[in-house]
């Protein structure tokens, strides 16, 4: 199984572990992530304004490149996934945006959202299957109590993201069970960590992140997992109490026994 892969800017720098573990784990699970050539940064923020085209172009270029190969486009960073998935939705459903983008990029044949955009977790759930992930685990994380941190970008708006139940998701809990650990439910797992504001208003980001970490800790979580580098930063740098936060791919690689690769 082979997929086109969009790593995004942070995964090449501060979020290297998120990327590296994902690739080795993929190989262990029998699928390949082929990095798109010359991908461009997605912009990290989905442009909600309906009159903006420029901010959607890099996503469309990535989606086009995947269409040319005829494979789904896999993302990993929550922000990249959010942006690319929603821009793809715009190209599919918003005739005005579609026409403008196609005119500007002179796309031939025109692009209308044909590429399937998958998050790495969706690949595990829908293409590999939790049973197969479980079967490939060599070092189960038995007894480890993990809180799944979803944040906002993977889940919302659910009409467009179609990722999981936005208020009661289960994909990360299923993942945690598959690697042999124990998921811990806490109510704020889908609350925004406030990461965006860390540059301007660290105090506020701290307040948000602390609420989430405390809620998870109270529920008995020993660590949190996330798919987002900014969430990871915020939940570790802007909290007191030292609740460890890991990328889910790190634990996956560890459980599959390919950690050092």
């Amino acid at each position: 199984m082979k997929f086109q892969y969009f790593p995004g800017c942070t995964l090449k720098t501060k979020g290297v572990r998120l990327d590296a573990c994902a690739r080795t784990a993929a190989l262990a699970l029998g699928f390949t992530l082929e990095e798109l050539p010359e991908w461009q940064c997605c912009g990290a923020v989905y442009p909600m304004a309906r009159d903006e085209i420029a901010t959607r172009l890099s996503s469309v270029r990535a989606l086009m490149a995947a269409r040319e190969v005829g494979e789904p486009l896999v993302t990993l960073c929550s922000a990249c996934h959010h942006v690319i998935k929603r821009v793809n939705g715009d190209m599919k459903h918003d005739a005005d945006i579609r026409a403008k983008v196609n005119n500007y990029l002179k796309l031939d044949p025109p692009y209308a959202g044909e590429t399937e955009v998958l998050h790495y977790l969706e690949v595990l759930r829908d293409k590999i299957g939790w049973e197969n992930v479980k079967a490939a685990v060599k070092n189960p994380l038995t007894g480890v109590k993990i809180g799944a941190y979803y944040g906002c970008l993977l889940l919302r708006p659910s009409r467009e993201m179609c990722f999981d139940d936005p208020e009661n998701p289960s994909i990360l809990e299923d993942f945690i069970r598959a690697i042999g650990a124990e998921p811990v439910y806490y109510g704020l797992r889908n609350e925004c960590c406030g990461g965006y504001t860390t540059i301007e208003n660290r105090q506020y980001a701290h307040k948000q992140a602390q609420r989430i970490a405390d809620n998870a800790k109270t529920a008995g979580a020993e660590c949190l997992i996330t798919a987002c580098p900014l969430c990871l930063y915020n939940l570790t740098q802007n909290t007191d109490g030292g609740l460890p936060v890991r990328y889910f791919t790190e634990l996956l690689a560890q459980a599959l026994g390919v950690e050092e690769a």
Binding site: G8, C9, T10, T13, K14, G15, C41, G43, A44, V45, Y46, P47, M48, A49, R50, D51, T55, C77, A79, C152, L155, R156, P157, S158, P166, E167, E191, C192, G194, G195, Y196, T197, T198, I199, E200, N201, Y204, Q208, P229, L230, L232, Y233, T236, Q237
Partner: protein, 127 residues
């Protein structure tokens, strides 16, 4: 002028203000409530009532987290987050109204800060 501005914001956001039934679930869901002088439900009514200047001048437009909790939970599909973004754009699209300048960035960095934070700050705060 005000009508013009209202139309612009409605067009940029694509929000149909008339759908709102004033239930307040957006404001009940907003994690940035304490940081905003006007709250999601007020953006809807204030744009509708032409109180645009007050919104343009508010600092809350930079503290909205774009977490989409208001969008997700709105029973009428009003999408207040799109309205807040449209108001912000109405400000920063003006010449010299960038909320963030490149020179400010180095002082904000630390060793761990992911690129994503800077990229998104530029997208949200600057033309």
């Amino acid at each position: 002028m005000e009508q013009n501005m209202m139309d612009t914001i409605a067009r940029i956001s694509g929000v149909n203000l008339r759908r709102c039934m004033r239930c307040g679930k957006c404001t009940a869901s907003c994690p940035a409530f304490d940081e905003m002088e006007y709250h999601p439900h007020q953006f809807v009514s204030m744009v509708e009532n032409g109180r645009i200047d007050e919104l343009l001048a508010s600092q809350g437009i930079y503290t909205c987290l774009s977490c989409f909790a208001c969008v997700e939970r709105c029973p009428r599909n009003v999408e207040p987050a799109k309205l807040i973004e449209a108001v912000r754009l109405a400000v920063i699209r003006k010449q010299g109204e960038n909320h963030l300048h490149a020179e400010q960035i180095p002082a904000m960095l630390d060793d761990e800060l992911p690129q994503q934070a800077i990229v998104s700050a530029f997208r949200k705060y600057k033309r």
